[in-house]
Subunit: 310 residues, 2 copies
């Protein structure tokens, strides 16, 4: 399955007709990851008919309401839908103290366990890892501790060349080893080189979510050459001073980060409610980095491996 | 201005494509009152382009999430919109303890004050009163302390008959007294009867919100003859057992309450997510009480005085 990103909310603090606050659903390697959970996240999921059967981990960037007010409602509804698998909520230090009391009161009899896993947003650390991917925090520059998240697939298994495997009479018991790259030694002692038996694994992809943040060049080495970057672009050039004051980015600044990091594609979001038409944001970003697209609520974007420009 | 009710959410615990969780905006006597505040209330308000300039009081029926998860987001956004007037949140005992910590963390620098005003949901008491209307709690029967709310307009001032007032040369200083019902005594000592100078005040209207509740006949005397009743109707007849178990009502039960109380009109809502088509609920309710309508998200209903049937 190709990795894909569904935008549940691409607005900022004040919701608009078109934009819910921040939330995204990432599908990667047969798993789902929810990134931020603004108010209405569960509503968007239900409007789109999306289920969360493969969700085990939620990542909260920071403790501003537009990034986490939907958490309690979502968890409560998952309980009513009889989810049983553990749910892990990764967030900055303090998230447990804030949400645990409401969780205890409103979701007293959940059929699953909730674990808060706190991180120190000042450092870039791996906060999730399994056989197929890892998640690393990206320290951002905002009015409170705030981290982005880098999702990086690991190289998968090689693909068996069925005809060659049959020709060489490779027993099924050897398939996994061979997919991991081993050569095959047949009963006659003959070595069949792995590259005769397999083709390369699928290309791996990487995705980084960076919201909320001021223009922050320290990000660049951490996201160098990734396939897709979501970067906040709260304001247009005309509001540069306001962007600086509030530690947000302009669309042009987001694109400059994307350009300097040589990412494959840039998706901008976290739009201020003042932009009912976002053309100006797209235009200003594309002047710096042509491979920019606007995030759109309830739209899904494929994450594809690209030839790296750096 | 005619009193009117805008449905922001008419769903129950699980949101659907059409229905947000419970929330309503009541316009009565130039004031706004928010009744319940499920997740997404502020989103619905913004989708409809509604402003809350005349909102001073929010009423929360009970502490299930689908009736209050939108509170913190709404308050937070009102802060960003630079509201300055006090905001009073009326809710059952415990609401302050649950929400005050989040309010302190997320809304630290609000430009207005928030007051929690708790009531004991077991008793019917007046919890708000001003010159033009009163709000009384209605004890309901649910899985936790839960109250409905009865909004009752007070009789307004009589209307001056401008031609008559001019003819009798009534000085402006007397207008308020006369609108309150006083006769006018002219400088010659002649008494001009009030009914020659005024016409009756606008008819008063009354509205009751009853959600969530099992079938509860104790309600009937409290809402006798009111103009509009909103009563929860979570289930159809086929789910009567489930309604009993969860202390909710069927549409037929809601209509039976309306009929026995002789209300003017009934609006049913708080629909279970299983009813994407609500015709069955309307049909079953209308078999008991013909003046039944379905609540619809983002629709506004006028509250008009009706000839009382009892």
């Amino acid at each position: 399955m190709t990795a894909k990103l569904t935008i549940l909310g691409s607005g900022s603090a004040l919701p608009t007709r078109d934009n819910f606050p921040s939330a995204q659903l990432l599908d990667m390697r047969e798993k789902q990851f929810l990134i931020d959970c603004g108010e209405g996240t569960q509503i968007r999921l239900r409007q789109m008919g999306l289920k969360l059967n493969r969700l085990g981990h939620i990542f909260i960037s920071h403790l501003h309401g537009d990034h986490c007010f939907g958490l309690i409602g979502l968890i409560s509804s998952l309980g009513m839908l009889n989810r049983t698998a553990d749910l892990h909520i990764h967030g900055p230090i303090g998230i447990q103290e804030l949400f645990a009391p409401q969780l205890k009161f409103f979701c007293d009899e959940l059929p699953f366990k909730v674990f808060f896993e706190e991180f120190d947003a000042r450092h870039s650390v791996i906060i999730y890892e399994d056989r197929s991917l890892s998640v690393t925090t990206l320290p951002l520059r905002h009015r409170m501790p705030c981290a982005g998240f880098l999702f990086r697939e690991k190289e998968g298994l090689r693909h068996l060349l069925r005809e060659s495997v049959d020709f060489h009479k490779v027993p099924v018991s050897q398939f996994n080893l061979i997919r991991q790259g081993a050569d095959y030694v047949n009963p006659e002692g003959e070595v069949i080189s792995n590259n005769l038996l397999t083709s390369p694994p699928n290309p791996v992809v990487s995705y980084a979510y960076c919201s909320d943040t001021a223009y922050h060049e320290a990000l660049i080495p951490l996201i160098k050459g990734i396939d897709l970057l979501y970067h906040e672009a709260t304001f247009a050039d005309a509001e540069l001073i306001r962007a600086r004051q509030t530690l947000h980015s302009t669309a042009r600044q987001a694109a400059r980060i994307a350009s300097k990091a040589g990412v494959g594609r840039l998706l901008i979001g976290h739009f201020s409610a003042r932009y009912s038409n976002k053309d100006i944001l797209l235009k200003e970003a594309q002047e710096e980095f042509i491979q920019t697209e606007l995030a759109v609520d309830m739209q899904t974007f494929a994450i594809e491996s690209v030839v790296k420009s750096i």
